[in-house]
Symmetry: D2
Subunit: 474 residues, 4 copies
Amino acid sequence: MTETIRFDDRPGEECGVVGIFAPSEDVASMAYFALFALQHRGQEAAGIAVCDGETARIRKDTGLVSQVFTPENLRSLRGRYAIGHTRYSTTGSSVLRNAQPFLIETRYGPLAISHNGNLVNTYALRRGLLQKGVGLLSSSDSEVITLMLAGAEGASWEERIRTTMPKWRGAYSLVILTREGVFAVRDPWGFRPLSVGRLKSGGHAAASESCALRTIGCEAIREVKPGEVIRLSNTALSVLQALPPVEPSALCTFEHIYFSRPDSIWDGRSVHHIRQRLGVELAREAPVEADVVIPVPDSSIPAAIGYARESGIPYNDGFIKNRYIGRTFIEPTDSLRKQGVALKFNVLEENLRDRRVVVIDDSIVRGNTSGPLLRLLREAGACEVHLRITCPPIVSPCHMGVDFGTCEELIAHHRTVEEICRHVGADTLHFLSLPSMMRAIGRATGYCNACYTGAYPLDVEPEQAKTGFENSIC
Amino acid sequence: MTETIRFDDRPGEECGVVGIFAPSEDVASMAYFALFALQHRGQEAAGIAVCDGETARIRKDTGLVSQVFTPENLRSLRGRYAIGHTRYSTTGSSVLRNAQPFLIETRYGPLAISHNGNLVNTYALRRGLLQKGVGLLSSSDSEVITLMLAGAEGASWEERIRTTMPKWRGAYSLVILTREGVFAVRDPWGFRPLSVGRLKSGGHAAASESCALRTIGCEAIREVKPGEVIRLSNTALSVLQALPPVEPSALCTFEHIYFSRPDSIWDGRSVHHIRQRLGVELAREAPVEADVVIPVPDSSIPAAIGYARESGIPYNDGFIKNRYIGRTFIEPTDSLRKQGVALKFNVLEENLRDRRVVVIDDSIVRGNTSGPLLRLLREAGACEVHLRITCPPIVSPCHMGVDFGTCEELIAHHRTVEEICRHVGADTLHFLSLPSMMRAIGRATGYCNACYTGAYPLDVEPEQAKTGFENSIC
Amino acid sequence: MTETIRFDDRPGEECGVVGIFAPSEDVASMAYFALFALQHRGQEAAGIAVCDGETARIRKDTGLVSQVFTPENLRSLRGRYAIGHTRYSTTGSSVLRNAQPFLIETRYGPLAISHNGNLVNTYALRRGLLQKGVGLLSSSDSEVITLMLAGAEGASWEERIRTTMPKWRGAYSLVILTREGVFAVRDPWGFRPLSVGRLKSGGHAAASESCALRTIGCEAIREVKPGEVIRLSNTALSVLQALPPVEPSALCTFEHIYFSRPDSIWDGRSVHHIRQRLGVELAREAPVEADVVIPVPDSSIPAAIGYARESGIPYNDGFIKNRYIGRTFIEPTDSLRKQGVALKFNVLEENLRDRRVVVIDDSIVRGNTSGPLLRLLREAGACEVHLRITCPPIVSPCHMGVDFGTCEELIAHHRTVEEICRHVGADTLHFLSLPSMMRAIGRATGYCNACYTGAYPLDVEPEQAKTGFENSIC
Amino acid sequence: MTETIRFDDRPGEECGVVGIFAPSEDVASMAYFALFALQHRGQEAAGIAVCDGETARIRKDTGLVSQVFTPENLRSLRGRYAIGHTRYSTTGSSVLRNAQPFLIETRYGPLAISHNGNLVNTYALRRGLLQKGVGLLSSSDSEVITLMLAGAEGASWEERIRTTMPKWRGAYSLVILTREGVFAVRDPWGFRPLSVGRLKSGGHAAASESCALRTIGCEAIREVKPGEVIRLSNTALSVLQALPPVEPSALCTFEHIYFSRPDSIWDGRSVHHIRQRLGVELAREAPVEADVVIPVPDSSIPAAIGYARESGIPYNDGFIKNRYIGRTFIEPTDSLRKQGVALKFNVLEENLRDRRVVVIDDSIVRGNTSGPLLRLLREAGACEVHLRITCPPIVSPCHMGVDFGTCEELIAHHRTVEEICRHVGADTLHFLSLPSMMRAIGRATGYCNACYTGAYPLDVEPEQAKTGFENSIC
């Protein structure tokens, strides 16, 4: 009759990381609040590890940050510094096994790691570890990173990190907990975001997005630069340029388009502001005569405001989103759907009837949600529907940490824009061009646009380029 | 260190009700989807009762609709018709005991009731039942309604409902499940909303808000009129004007201001549209020279758009709300709060720095959230902050189903507008006047404005007017 | 592949009740410990209600006593007196709805009831309540008892109990919580046990079995006499002979045979001692030449010791029972069972090989466990297997609170002893005769033996005698 | 008021292991049933890993076997062979982290291990692994065993096991799952039990105790000999004497005294039979004039029967044990205890009053339960109480897998028998002498009696001999 599933045309496999070094005892709470602000980056598992300089403690579980942690278990996570992780995952059974932080005991004491990103040479690195006689618990590249550090030579963690980094190819924004403190590490391409800031009460924090740092009251926020290793401390930051930054850098465009919270700063730019400018560029590149501009809430609201402002067409709400759509809920059956049962969005008929409507959406990945949305507009009496997308068609999978799925799943991989337009039932459809998108962002280069172009900024090992290696542990 | 609490300056004690009569077997699923669309009216408990014409089955529990129901337990709720309820509640231990629907066995077969509203003569009615030797399970006026119907005389449920209604004074929008089918009943004052519609696949449905009816694909939606008793059926509705409507009616203004979803129709008016007009009226009544108009998301967005449009001041986002704030989460301690930890909202500095900001909010009840919000704007560099509220000051408690708290808790009960302005730290503060609010709604009379005026449309029994009777069962 | 089920050839539908009146604040804990000692009488739900003389509080849920209660929820059950209940139930969905104590608000304040037993005129009493316009929440005769008391006239609870008792026909051992204190009430037939005792620290307690009273340190334990109403207090008990005891009384024999814990006193007799004497009588009535006497653990151990002593045949263990068999577990499939997978019992081959074995069991109800047990003995090399049962064949259902199932389910209802002997694969089978059983108990009359004879000590209403009335609420 | 704790004077830290190799698909169910029969060896966590020859799958969690596994999750554990583990653990937070089987990916494919026992050179082995740059997840010696195998050289798992075994010093009964099948491995001292048998339906199984093999229908059961490595298969077993057995062997006496189920065979001897003979030896060594012999149920029942038979004093029950005492329950406060609240045992007064009582118990470890038990006997009117223990005083901790606690916790470490006698309130107290105990067992040598003598059969590394090494991960 009914089934519990997850439906969405949004990409997954993102994660959020945090690190806190504070004189207070409340580091676990601080990490909790920062993770809470990064919940949008992953809702399937969460974890926090703390250390008092000697012993490390950890708690991680599947579920939302607010489900994994209670005042009681936070209280038991006493320490002087902490790292945390919130995880998006596609797998079922092994969710907990892959949950982070990874915490192990090494000859140098405890080592815990939270990782956002994806290595493109995992297969070779795993093989190397296994050949050395090391056992692996999971299929995760994050465990590979952890065990490589555990086996690294060097007089200090800083040295061991520095000497191991050249072996990792791909995206890694890391926070690392050791007896020497917390390190924030970013790959030399700069794929995924990572920022640090100063806590008003003393100490420092690192997090995937600046919004999390501001949530916990940070000042003097700046990004960890590509190739940097920064040790958090109570006083000044200790900064090491471990690897020279790759030129040009390869920042993920999609953080602007969809992932990051609008109140975050990415590449020194306000994400909210960029999104408004994407709307402005869209209006210039693909104008249309219409009566109203509406967003697909929530991520497209700033772009719709920008489009409206630039085009002079009034902005208004067209869709009302059910705020209680969560990770899992019961979906209507096909037969109920045909009777008009529509859970996620309702429309505001009075803003749509007999109107020519411009709909702004951030992206089309698999192409299974735009159709039903546009149908709702038609049923509400919209006489024309013009769909405008704030990025180019996504034609290639991401190997650097975004779960767009395979080529087969990407609608733009095997359909033209005209075909997609017909498929979703729009009168006109326009994807923002790459140059206009980059103009909105304000830089011509320095970003990874592989998902739009297929031109990856680094070689991907063939095993991963296909389907991912077969793991023998489930 | 930390505590799990619930904080909000929003009123509570609202509920959502649904009734479905459908030829399909899927009535429980239909009720589920409709309840899901009414989740904003109550997040503490949910329930569905079904009947096959002979036997009734029920499932109810504390939690969100998506937590209470699974495909399995929905499947076991087989029947031809159903009613459902989603509940807001302030109590802890007795949540389940007060959860609805109430289902009992009577001499006329099973009887189940879902109730939105509040009677003002509960104390007398309870006393009457107890004196007759009836035992009561809960402190709820909804149980009183149920047991009065169980004891009523009459040849049919329609007759028993009709003859009992005159004894109930106050707000009651009911759906009632019996062997004769599902009834939708609304008090003669029309305090709380209740609508009916026709299912495309056959049958009818009733729900607190039209948005829920549209979610399950209803057509020909109309409100149940004050004093009406409507029996849902597969074919035509059976409509009885059981009590003459009270003149003038006493529709709850606050459904427009805050409660209802913007995609609902209340009193024949689009809630979203009314909210935009409230913004327009605010702009006319309390103009100010400023650089940007921002809403407190989400309920104030349409009003902010209206204010911006009328005033010519650009609309923009100023606050970003954390979408994962749920019913319960761990709140920062005072000491963390002083360090700047702020979970619910972040600000968009680039839209605020050195700007004169107009902030639109729907209401001020207890007055404990506006202050911190405005402080965030100041810290982000706003040079002026002008707070505009889309309704008058709330000075009196509601006895008809809204939990505004007691007089003592209402900030406007004992402070002037100037005092409140200073308290929240605004440069200027304006509450929309009653006439302007009614002008936005489009009617001069027919609404209950007791919370703004203290003039109740009916007498409230003294026991309730004080603190509520003391119940001897917890 | 596998299924989670409950299997047993033991009767169900028994319950345990407790009442505590103590000057200490710890009445909820006392009730918990007493319920814990009565856990064998029902494992499906448990509950405790407390009262401070004004307000009553309750907690009940499905599960074992140790699962329903935590130190935290016990702490919140503050009061001066308490009642509790542990329940065996056959139903699934409505377990919680039927869980006890029942607690309601009446015109005389709160009223809570815990009931062990079963009325035989429930149908007529329910009809009477429904006709008066009372609504019923469950199918339970215990709710009927509660609501009849709520509607009773009289100046005190003692009076209301006294005047209502004559209307109840059947088995009822009750503890009742009111603003006037806790009452212990037993039907005039005396079907089910109920005892009272004095707490060393002051106050009194009542419980289904004396073992529970001893567990909480009671002295001066005596049975509540048939027809008595006793009010517990801090000082002397207040005793009322509300109804004359029926002569002869109708005490349940099966409490001796199986239900009661061996450390309880029933009818002034040690249950353990009676069980040993049942073994002695069996040895006299059905001697056999054999090498070893073994019990089916645990309830048959005393009888096996008695049989061994009287017969001179050595006693030894033959079966080892898995102590972790709980309410639900995964049962082997038929195919696994054929391969010899046997979860509940293993055998001690060295005590059985080439031996002539006498197996003592307490009763045969449905007849589905003896066969597999005896097969295990044969496989272990027993050359002869003689099954001896400590009571006569059970040929009629119980309507006074024991769930033997229907006539159809009772193997002895439609098979002779010889047929049962062949069915279970014994060389010889003997059921203890009624006179010998009563000789072991030490009384010729005063017990209800309807399950062995079909002669009920009171008329059972036809509806119940058939299949139980059809309830229209599930 | 009350606290949830675990109390017992029984040793812990035992575990149960199983391995199944069967042609059927039901290996997970078989493992489940075998674990269920080993539940007495550990109640804190359970797990099963399966393999289809290529991919391994695992499920493990805290809780009883019946709580960890459901028909659904067993169904998903498809494979041709399986291993399982049930664990006793003293720690709280890290229970899951230490739960077994340990499953890792190695260069040779998946490797899973279930371990019963304890190594005495763990500290050195851990240090060795860490020095090689391996990271460790837990403080468990079982993980050390797993990772050493992962890093071992050799052409086959058999070879790798054989070449690694000499490095392990201490107790290890292992089942190991690999792509080559399941191996059963026992240390050359033979500390802990491990048996193999043939499944009637084809295939073989290994388990800690023979009772588990019989529960799943095994035939031709024999013990894995000290130093043996046996590969399970569908046809004949492949047996390798990997290490020469240490002479004399060091079988754990305490398996006879307390751990093993009475229906198991240990060292070719029936545990139940040995326990009866322990009672016989006790009667010879420490006779006393008395009226009744009673056991402390359940483990001491056979010994009490043996004592009674040898002494001619009648056997009877004296204590009734509450069958529902589980892992955790709420304990009475001291004040309640003083009032006589006693949860675990009640006494049968009629068997004790004015009697001279011999109480048989298996052992005294910490000495905190005998006192209260004997007090119950006195209160029931026993005029003399003679305590007889079926083993010598335990004076030294076990380093081979039994959690007797530290020297400080062992009452016999710092008190004489006379002092213990006074402490527990017995009239006389006798511990069975070592020679008599060994006579009951039927061998003079070949057993480890270090807990009675302090003479360990192998050197224990100093770190462990003290308090266990300090682990830096909690």
